[in-house]
Amino acid sequence: MGVASIPVGPESPIQREYRPRTDFFKGICWLASLLTVLLLVCILLEVFSKAWPAIHRFGFGFITGVQWSPNREVFGVLPVLIGTGISSLLALLFALPLGLAIALFLSEDFLPAPIRQVIRFVIELLAAIPSVVYGLWGIFVVVPLVQQYGGILADKLGFLPIFQGPAYGNSLLTASIVLALMVLPTITAISRSTLVTVPYALREGSYALGATRWETILGVILPTAAPGIVASSILAFGRAMGETMAVAMLIGNSQRLSWSFLAPSNTLSALLANQFAEADGIQVNALMYAAALLVLMTLCVNIAGEAILRHTQKTTAGLR
């Protein structure tokens, strides 16, 4: 407390005037943060209580089942779970090299600082584009591209299960490409901030030992920042899993099990967005079950990402 340096006693008029206000403010802050935690608990409770009839009725078979036929009250989400996982992984596979390269470029002094600022700003703006706009862009740009080149891919590499034809425009691949762009800002921003916090002494040490810039980047800076980069990927993965609108518009919404990237697929969030409005009876509970799975998955992924990020910040702080 800065006030402590001023020689005033406990009965000082200054303190008597300020203390109640500080407490009031503290109270509001406490309440607000408590409410946020409570909100998460309430959401989880609501989702799980609505999902309970389906959990009770379908049990684990819901997760391993491969058919989703509401008209027959058969609900299995395995193809959708796989679609969610693969589309997000694929998106990460595209976005990580690109995002990391951008982050490195922006954290080093290849360009004058003002230009770097502008590039950084533009990339972070990608995060401000609404999901539905990405979806529309995907429909008009990415779908025709995948339609055109997917066919060639299926012809040439069709013997691999992942490129098996026929190639659809609305496919897992299309959704993944657009998802990659959507998670790019997450990867770039977090990676860049960890790269920037790599202590300058380490670079200087590396240069002093005669390492070139690339040797320094690959041998010193990247390994030091690695946990932060991993954390950025995990957070990006979490975001990709929960992404709804753009995916629903591009993935082809098919609940069939297929290993081909060129075939339509589905994700949990897209399934929910598509079917909630007209669902009734046990289908609502089944969708809630799917929602509960999605919440659990994204919570786990985000907690893992946060944990690693915390850990990194601690270790780099020690180095500094």
């Binding site: 959401i43 609501e46 989702v47 609505k50 058919q67 989703w68 036929s69 509401p70 008209n71 027959r72 429909i139 779908v143 025709p144 339609q147 026929p166 659809y168 425009g169 609305n170 629903a248 518009m249 082809g252 919404n253 098919s254 609940q255 069939r256 339509p264 929910l272 967005a273 598509n274 079917q275 909630f276 409005a277 007209e278 669902a279 009734d280 289908q283 809630m288 929602a291």
Partner: protein, 340 residues
């Protein structure tokens, strides 16, 4: 995650509130929700009706047939609209206090995108069932080609486009297909939301339309009005009598004219038998209460529905719907009279 329904209710409440605050001018407000298929014509009726009767306000929310029935049961709305008639269970939930009134009708068409072939494609029953079950994979398949000797069908893979969201359109369409083919009934079945063995799916009529337009070799099912407005190519399916029927307002009207309505108006046209009947058609029902809590409301609902059934039918063709036959209108109006 109750958000979608709650949000909808909230919106509805907000609309109702906004409407209530203008009630100094409008004395009665009727709220309805349901079928997105019938939404264009119901909203049009609402606008036209309000011009003639400024004292009544009509709000209609296009939330989908299933949600429309749910909201009607929950007493959130004064009337509902649905492409599938209410089930006995659902009717029991409102204590039987509901009348199902056919208000408009439409047909469902096979819309396709084959480069170079914009009209004249004929699909036999075996062909369209085969396409939808995934056994017919290419447009030059002999099963399709034998009825289309005048067309040069390309060697192009067929992409089936279906609805990803639950919808009355899918319900009517799959009911027809299940009536036509035992294989389809066994493999897919009928319902508002089914699992298709092949193809991609889009959300809503507009999503399906976009997919068809964009994918060479695509075929999908949409409402006639939607296909006509978006200038999609429509195939002529084979009806039960064996004839290939071009989807038009007229061929749809022929189907409707041949339907005999039961007392409760729940007629399902799964596979009409007339020689010139278009095979896939359905009524859209308005759900109204048999008795309303206030006489004002009952009078307003009656006046509105009566308007839709009489004057309102004249806008049906321009919006892509089928005008109800006079015999049907007469019966429905008589039933409407009993609303209190």
């Amino acid at each position: 995650m109750n958000a979608p329904t709650n949000l909808k209710q909230l919106c509805l409440a907000a609309v109702a509130f906004a409407a209530a605050s203008i009630q100094m001018h409008a004395s009665t407000t009727i709220n309805g929700s349901g079928s997105s298929f019938a939404a264009p014509i119901i909203i049009r009726w609402g606008i036209d009706f309000q011009k003639a009767h400024p004292e009544t306000r009509i709000n209609y929310q296009s939330v989908g047939s299933g949600a429309g029935i749910t909201q009607f049961i929950q007493n959130i709305t004064d009337f509902g609209a649905s492409d599938v008639a209410m089930s006995d269970e659902e009717i029991a939930k409102v204590g039987g206090n509901v009348l199902l009134l056919p208000a408009t009708a439409g047909t469902i068409v096979f819309a396709y995108n084959i480069p170079g072939i914009s009209t004249g494609l004929k699909l036999s029953r075996a062909a369209y069932i085969g396409i939808l079950l995934g056994t017919v994979k290419s447009w030059n398949d002999p099963l399709i080609a034998k009825d289309n000797t005048d067309l040069k069908l390309p060697n192009l893979p067929i992409t089936v486009v279906s609805r990803s969201d639950g919808s009355g359109t899918t319900g009517v369409f799959t009911a027809h297909l299940s009536a036509v083919s035992a294989d389809f009934k066994a493999q897919v079945g009928s319902g508002k939301s089914v699992t298709w063995p092949v193809g991609v799916a889009g959300k809503g009529n507009e999503g399906v339309t976009a997919l068809i337009k964009q994918t060479p070799g695509a075929i999908g099912y949409v409402e006639f009005g939607y296909a006509a407005n978006n200038k999609l190519s429509m195939a002529s399916p084979q009806n039960k009598a064996g004839n290939f029927i071009t989807p038009t307002i007229e061929s749809g009207a022929i189907t409707l004219a041949s339907v005999t309505l039961p007392e409760n108006f729940r007629a399902f046209i799964t596979d009409p038998e007339g020689a010139n009947d278009y095979p896939i058609a359905s009524f859209s029902w308005l759900l109204v209460k048999k008795s309303y809590p206030s006489a004002d409301k009952a009078a307003a609902v009656k006046a509105f529905v009566a308007y839709g059934l009489t004057t309102g039918q004249s806008v049906a063709p321009e919006l892509g719907y089928i005008t109800l036959p006079d015999s049907v209108v007469k019966k429905v109006l008589a039933a409407l009279e009993t609303v209190k």
